[in-house]
Structures are given as structure tokens and as C-alpha cells.
């Protein structure tokens, strides 16, 4: 081993307790960082996927203005043929047409206002997780049957069960009075109260008939293979829109503007906390290295008298810090990965979190996932700040007066 390396390594272990304590601070922060960052990014991914899988999709084709106003007459004309054409041209099943209307659903005993989606029974399961959440009865099958699937809370509030009839009242696309009697064929439970209370689905054909849609709908939902591939698909879809019609393709960020922002808000508060942790580690290192420089004043004086430049000594101090930081980096990353992996298999459940998690379409148990990025990014930042903290002690060496230093007690 190179003599300088050996010197630095030995210097480090002169006060092994102090070195271990400083490394301990790094390891502690690194474990937390690895765990939190893994948890966070896993959570964001889930949040995005789960939210988009409810209704938004990766993108939607809509009439201009529909996104904000959701007015009945802001339609996508001939919506089913359009969806069929896109499926064919994109060679993808992840495309489905929908209509949406607001209506008053009445059972024998109760009436509630609900949002009613008209969906393509054959394709909706590809773009939404609602069909898979039907736990009583069945999902829609026939594109023109007068059937409806409703949320679990809504069913309870309306006091209906599978097989009962509902009267749906609303207004058609031209503002005229729309009414129909439909049979409840299925009840879904998403676990999100707002959805279970406010949403009903019927098949698009029947929907168009009830609300006088004349073949039109309100949205075509599309998914790309992955979230990352969505922008490319969006460009493709834009090129395939029927000419002469005024239609827009919205990406998921436009459809769910709260989502990215919620993530951003959460990230900024998380980064504040990480920043504080890193700064505290830096203080610890600064303290240790300053002590280690000061207590060696005499020694440094002697070697400088023998001709060693302060710059070299400074590099020696930096090297010691780097070694210490490296031990902390490796141990912290490994320990962090181990701790996180334990939660990957066993899951993390925070008592009382269920309700908050549901607000963001998250499961009540979280499974953080370690990958190379989440394992090393936190410890790497700690390492950099460790080095920065040692700059001041290293620079102090330049101020050392050889004679005075040799005489220091």
C-alpha cells in the first residue's frame, strides 16, 4: 500500500472511538436516507399508477374545454369508431371510449346524484381497474343492455342490491330531459369513498341512447406500455386525430394536475428533512476533523519543519476524511439496503395511515424497493458533504507557523 494511504489509515484509527462515532453518524443518516428514498420513490410510482388506473389513463382525447367544464355538449363525435380505429392503427388494446353524464339515481327508497360513465364493456377493463373491483354480481357485458354497475357506498346509500332496478334522471346532450330504468348488475368496491359513493358505469351504447348522444362520447382513454412511453404515444395519437374535428389529447399531468404537485410538495418537504440530516453529519465530521488537526499541531509542525508542504498535509487530512466517509458510505448503503429489504418483504404499515393512503390511491401497507439509485444517491450526497466539511480543517494547516506549531502544548 502507498505510504500516504497507510499513514492516513493509521491516523484515522488513533482515536478509534471518535472515528466510529463519526462513521456511526454517517451510517445512521445513510440508513434513513436509503430507506426513505426507496419508500418515497416506490410510493410516487404507486400513486401515479393507481391514480391513473382509476379513470384518467396516460392520456385522453377530449373536446377542447371539456377537461375543465365537463359539459355534456363538449363531445368527441363518433367516439366508438374513433377508438376502434386507434386500436387498429396503434395495434394496442389499451384504448377505450367513454361518455360521462351527471344524473340522479333513484331506487325505491332513496335518490342520489351520481356521475355516470358510459363505457365499452369489452375494452374498459384494459384502461381502468374499476371492472376488476366488482365484487358482487358481474361487470357489464353487452354494449347496449340497460344495465348499470355502481359503487359499494352508493349501493348502500340507495339500499339496492344486485338485480334491483334504478331510475336514472338527467339531461341529454341537447339539454332535453333524459330518463331510463336500468338494472344493477354489479357492485364494485375501490376503497376510495369518493369513488364508491359517486360513480356508476353503464355500457356506452345504452348511455348514448339514454342521453341522446347520437354516437358521440366525451373521452377516449389511452394507456402506453409504460408511463415513460406515454409522451411518444401522445405525439402519435395527435397525428391520428380525425382531420377537421376540434379535438385535443391531454396527458396525465393535465388530467390529474394535483398528482405531480402533491408529489412535488411531498418531495420538497422530504428534501428539507434530508438536507438537515446531511448538514448534521457534516457538523459531526467538521468537529472530528478539526479536533484531529488541532491535536496534531505539534506533529504537523515537526513534519513541516522537515520540509513537508502544508498543501500535502491538507491532502492528507482530506484523504483521511475520504477514507472515513467511504467506510460510512459503504456500511450505510449496505445496512440501508438490508433494512429496506426487510420492509420489502414484510411491508411497512403505519397505524392510522390507511385513511391518508386511500386519499392518494395507495394501499395501506407500503413495500419500499431498493435499487442502485435509491441505495446510493443518499449516501453519495452524505459523502460529498463529508468532504466539504473537511475543507476548513484542511485549509487551517496553511495558517500554521512551523515554530509556533512545534512549541504548541
Amino acid at each position: 500500500m502507498n505510504i500516504v494511504l497507510r499513514l492516513a489509515w493509521r491516523n484515522l484509527w488513533r482515536h478509534s472511538r471518535r472515528t466510529w462515532l463519526t462513521i456511526g453518524a454517517m451510517v445512521f443518516s445513510n440508513i434513513l436516507l436509503v430507506f426513505m428514498i426507496s419508500l418515497q420513490f416506490g410510493m410516487y410510482g404507486l400513486m401515479i399508477d393507481n391514480t391513473l388506473q382509476v379513470f384518467s389513463g396516460h392520456m385522453q382525447i377530449q373536446a377542447p374545454g371539456y377537461k375543465d367544464d365537463q359539459k355534456m355538449r363538449q363531445v368527441v363525435p363518433d367516439v366508438q369508431p374513433l377508438a376502434a380505429r386507434l386500436r387498429e392503427e396503434l395495434d394496442s388494446d389499451l384504448v377505450a371510449a367513454r361518455g360521462w353524464a351527471f344524473g340522479l339515481a333513484s331506487s325505491e327508497e332513496r335518490s342520489y346524484g351520481v356521475g355516470i360513465y358510459g363505457v365499452e364493456p369489452g375494452f374498459e377493463p384494459n384502461v381502468s381497474n374499476i371492472p376488476g373491483l366488482v365484487n358482487e354480481g358481474r361487470y357489464l357485458v353487452d354494449n347496449s343492455a340497460m344495465e348499470i354497475v355502481i359503487g359499494e357506498v352508493l349501493a348502500r346509500n340507495l339500499r339496492v342490491a344486485v338485480g334491483d332496478e334504478l331510475t336514472v334522471l338527467g339531461s341529454g346532450v341537447d339539454g332535453s330531459f333524459a330518463a331510463a330504468v336500468v338494472e344493477v348488475v354489479g357492485i364494485f368496491e375501490s376503497g376510495v369513498p369518493d369513488i364508491d359513493r359517486n360513480i356508476a358505469e353503464m355500457s356506452l351504447g345504452a348511455f348514448q341512447e339514454v342521453f341522446y348522444m347520437n354516437g358521440a362520447g366525451h373521452q377516449v382513454v389511452l394507456f402506453a406500455e409504460t408511463l415513460a412511453a406515454a409522451p411518444l404515444l401522445q405525439e402519435q395519437v395527435k397525428g391520428m386525430l380525425p382531420t377537421g374535428e376540434d379535438l385535443i389529447v391531454h396527458d396525465w399531468d393535465a388530467l390529474q394536475p394535483g398528482l405531480k404537485q402533491a408529489i412535488k410538495a411531498d418531495m420538497s418537504s422530504a428534501f428539507f428533512m434530508y438536507g438537515i440530516l446531511v448538514i448534521l453529519v457534516a457538523f459531526s465530521v467538521l468537529n472530528t476533523q478539526l479536533m484531529s488537526v488541532l491535536e496534531r499541531t505539534r506533529e504537523f509542525g515537526i513534519v513541516m519543519a522537515l520540509g513537508l508542504r502544508p498543501g500535502r498535509l491538507g491532502r492528507l487530512v482530506m484523504l483521511e476524511t475520504a477514507m472515513m466517509g467511504f467506510v460510512g458510505f459503504i456500511l450505510g448503503a449496505i445496512a440501508g439496503a438490508i433494512v429496506t429489504s426487510w420492509f420489502t418483504t414484510n411491508g411497512l404499515a403505519i397505524p392510522g395511515m390507511d385513511e391518508m393512503a386511500a386519499q392518494f390511491n395507495l394501499p395501506s401497507k407500503m413495500y419500499p424497493r431498493v435499487n442502485l439509485l435509491t441505495m446510493f444517491v443518499g449516501p453519495a450526497v452524505v459523502f460529498v458533504f463529508t468532504l466539504l466539511a473537511a475543507v476548513y480543517p484542511a485549509l487551517r494547516l496553511h495558517k500554521l507557523h512551523v515554530v509556533a506549531a512545534m512549541r504548541a502544548s
Partner: protein, 409 residues
């Protein structure tokens, strides 16, 4: 005990013997404590605002319902107490405010569109303390009396419905016999709210107008009460219970809005975890500093013991030193936290993530809240844990053999 002042003086002088180390450690403690308190103040501010907003969307602090209403919020589940009876029971009980109201789901229809809303039949004067609507910030006018014949809707809803002040809309709901109850109203005012969801979701009509439309006589669906502070609602709760009989159910706000209730609990837990994590990150540096401080003066300690100082006094002296270090750091951290919260008193604008905050149920201006409780908690936790952390180095210092210690190089 006679020794105490001497020990304090000794500890204080030792502390400043190596002033650099002490200053660095004080700096670390101050930054840590600042972060604890500042972050807590921000979180508290957010949750506080959420709960205030949440409570202003009507739960009040304590509510009375029909025992079946919370499970089945239907017009059939009424509170059959009229105003005279309520007044007799609660008029003189000394609440900050109380109001009875009719609250049912309804459908609002303009000539263009229909939407589901929560219909509130209110007594405008009694309702003002509960309301999220600023009566003066209304385009047109707010309701003036319980028998007002107009309707006030949100500005955003008005845009969706393409209606405006002076135009007519139709409200549709059900009466207790499940017959459709509908009535036309003239829009007299458009209100603005801090959260778009409120503007979309609530419409106000006079209480008597609602009772007439829904054919419920003088009955209401809920009575709400406001105490002084949402954190301390037990006195209010007991007063309400005292006036209630078996026909109604009395609930606290966090039982009605479980999301907000959980939020508060989760945040309390978060504050404590945050304080402890920061302290742990600090503790490495603290122990390190003490170990060094003892190490440097092993000989002096040996000498003092040889001169007759008891091990207990050595132990006490090191602990006092540690406590002094912490106290100085805490004091500076507290002042820093206070100083950084002061300029934010008027609110921290985070509207760039407004929609994300709305997903969480928070508004886009953050008012940090410095609670004495949180400051005291942070300080006490740091002092207690700091005491525990310094036990080990202090213990070791007090166990030296005087002869060995004196001769140690």
C-alpha cells in the same frame, strides 16, 4: 449539593477551553433544534389550516345528528327538534356559536347542465361563524334570512352551469317519502372559496326554504356547535350531551371527518419521530464531543480524584457540561426558529403546488404555527435524551484509577 455551584463553574470553563469544538457542537445543536421546530411549525400550520378549512366546511366542533344519519345521510334520518326546542336547550349554554341546518345531497340543474351538490339550508346569521364563505366576498349578495328565496352557489359551479346572478336554477332532491322534491330558485349570489372543490360542491339556500322544499316541517338534519379550540372540544361536547336526549347522536368533529382526525394523529406522531430522528443524528456528535473532552483531560481528572474529588462529582461535572452545551444550543435554536417563523406569519405562498395540496385537503397558503407545546416537547426531548447520551462518557470518566489517569500520557 454544596459542590453544585463549583461543578457548574468548572463545567462552564471546561466547555470554553476548546471553544472551536464547543461552537461547532452548539452550531449543530442549534441547526438541529431549529429544523425540529421550524419543520414542526410548518406541518402544524398545514394541518391546522386543513382542520380549520375542514371544520369550516361545516362540521363545527361537535354535531348532533339522527343516530342513523352518519351511516345513511338521507333526508329520512332527521333531527326532529325545531328551533324553539333547540333554543331552549342550547340558547343559554354559552357556546361560541351554534346553528341547525338542513344538509342533503341534491342535483342542481340549469338550462344547460346538471351537477351533484350538497344542498345546505341555513340560517345565514347563525351560520356565519361556521362558514367557509366570506359573506362580504360574494358577487351579488349572500342569503339574508332563513326564509330567503334565493340560492347562493360557487363561482366555479356557476361557470360550469353557465348561469349567473339573476338566472334561475332547479334543485332536485327527495323528500322523506322518496318522492322527488324539486323547486326553482333564483341565483342571488356567487361565492368564492379557498378550495375549488368547495365552490363546486356546495350550494346555500334559506333553511325554511329547504324545509318547505323537502317537506320536512321544522326538522333539520344536523345541529352544529363551535367551542373555543378544535383541540379542546370536550367541554363543548359535554355541554351538548347534557342537552341531548336519546333520539339524537352527538359526535365530535374527528368522528365525523375521520380523514382529518387521522391526519391530526399521524402528524402528532410525525412530530415526535422527527424530533427523535434529529436528536439521534445529533447524539453521535454530542457523545463524540464529550468523549474528546474527557480524553483531553484524563490527567486532570486523575489529579482531582487524587486530591479527593468523588467519582460522583466527576460524573456530575461531565453531565453538567453536556447539559450546558445542549442548553446553549437549544436557546440559539429556539431563537432561530422563532425568528424564521416570524416573517412567515402572513403565510407562505405555495400556490405552485396548489392542486397537489388540495388533494391532501390543504390550501395553497401555509401559515406556520409555533405552538408552545411543540417547542417545549422538542426542548425536553433533547434535554432528556442528551442526558442519557452523556451518561456513558461521564460514567467512564468517573471510573478512572487516579494513579493510572495521572500518569497517562
Amino acid at each position: 449539593m454544596r459542590m453544585f455551584p463549583v461543578l457548574c463553574r468548572l463545567a462552564w470553563r471546561y466547555l470554553w477551553r476548546n471553544h472551536r469544538r464547543t461552537i461547532i457542537m452548539v452550531g449543530a445543536i442549534a441547526v438541529g433544534v431549529w429544523a425540529m421546530i421550524f419543520m414542526t411549525a410548518l406541518t402544524r400550520g398545514m394541518v391546522d389550516q386543513m382542520i380549520r378549512d375542514g371544520i369550516s366546511v361545516l362540521p363545527g366542533h361537535v354535531q348532533i345528528h339522527n343516530p342513523d344519519y352518519l351511516d345513511d345521510p338521507s333526508i329520512s334520518n332527521l333531527v326532529a327538534l325545531d328551533d324553539a326546542e333547540l333554543n331552549e336547550r342550547y340558547g343559554e349554554a354559552g357556546f361560541e356559536a351554534w346553528a341547525s341546518r338542513v344538509r342533503v345531497p341534491a342535483v342542481i340543474t340549469s338550462e344547460r347542465e346538471s351537477r351533484g351538490v350538497t344542498l345546505l339550508g341555513i340560517d345565514p346569521a347563525a351560520e356565519e361563524p361556521f362558514s367557509f364563505v366570506d359573506y362580504d366576498d360574494v358577487e351579488g349578495r349572500f342569503l339574508e334570512a332563513p326564509d330567503d328565496k334565493g340560492i347562493v352557489i360557487g363561482a366555479k359551479l356557476a361557470r360550469t352551469l353557465e348561469t349567473e346572478v339573476g338566472k334561475r336554477v332547479v334543485l332536485m332532491s327527495q323528500d322523506p317519502d322518496n318522492d322527488i322534491a324539486d323547486r326553482g330558485f333564483r341565483v342571488v349570489g356567487l361565492f368564492n372559496a379557498s378550495m375549488p372543490a368547495f365552490e363546486d360542491g356546495y350550494v346555500f339556500i334559506g333553511k325554511q326554504a329547504a324545509q318547505k322544499m323537502l317537506r320536512i316541517g321544522a326538522a333539520t338534519t344536523e345541529v352544529v356547535f363551535l367551542g373555543e379550540d378544535y383541540r379542546d372540544i370536550e367541554p363543548t361536547y359535554e355541554k351538548v350531551v347534557a342537552g341531548a336526549d336519546g333520539t339524537v347522536q352527538v359526535s365530535r368533529w374527528y368522528e365525523v371527518d375521520t380523514y382529518l382526525g387521522t391526519m391530526l394523529e399521524v402528524m402528532d406522531g410525525f412530530v415526535l419521530i422527527w424530533v427523535i430522528v434529529i436528536f439521534l443524528a445529533l447524539s453521535f456528535g454530542l457523545v463524540n464531543t464529550l468523549v474528546m473532552a474527557v480524553f483531553e483531560r484524563v490527567r486532570e481528572i486523575g489529579l482531582m480524584m487524587a486530591l479527593g474529588m468523588k467519582p460522583g462529582a466527576i460524573l456530575g461535572q461531565i453531565i453538567i457540561e453536556s447539559m450546558m452545551l445542549l442548553a446553549v444550543g437549544l436557546a440559539i435554536g429556539d431563537v432561530l426558529a422563532w425568528a424564521s417563523v416570524q416573517p412567515l406569519k402572513d403565510g407562505l405562498d405555495i400556490s405552485i403546488v396548489a392542486e397537489g395540496m388540495e388533494m391532501m385537503g390543504a390550501s395553497s397558503v401555509l401559515y406556520p404555527k409555533l405552538y408552545l407545546y411543540d417547542v417545549v416537547l422538542a426542548n425536553i426531548v433533547v434535554m432528556i435524551l442528551g442526558f442519557l447520551a452523556s451518561l456513558s462518557p461521564a460514567w467512564r470518566a468517573s471510573r478512572y484509577e487516579p494513579v493510572e489517569a495521572i500518569t497517562k500520557v
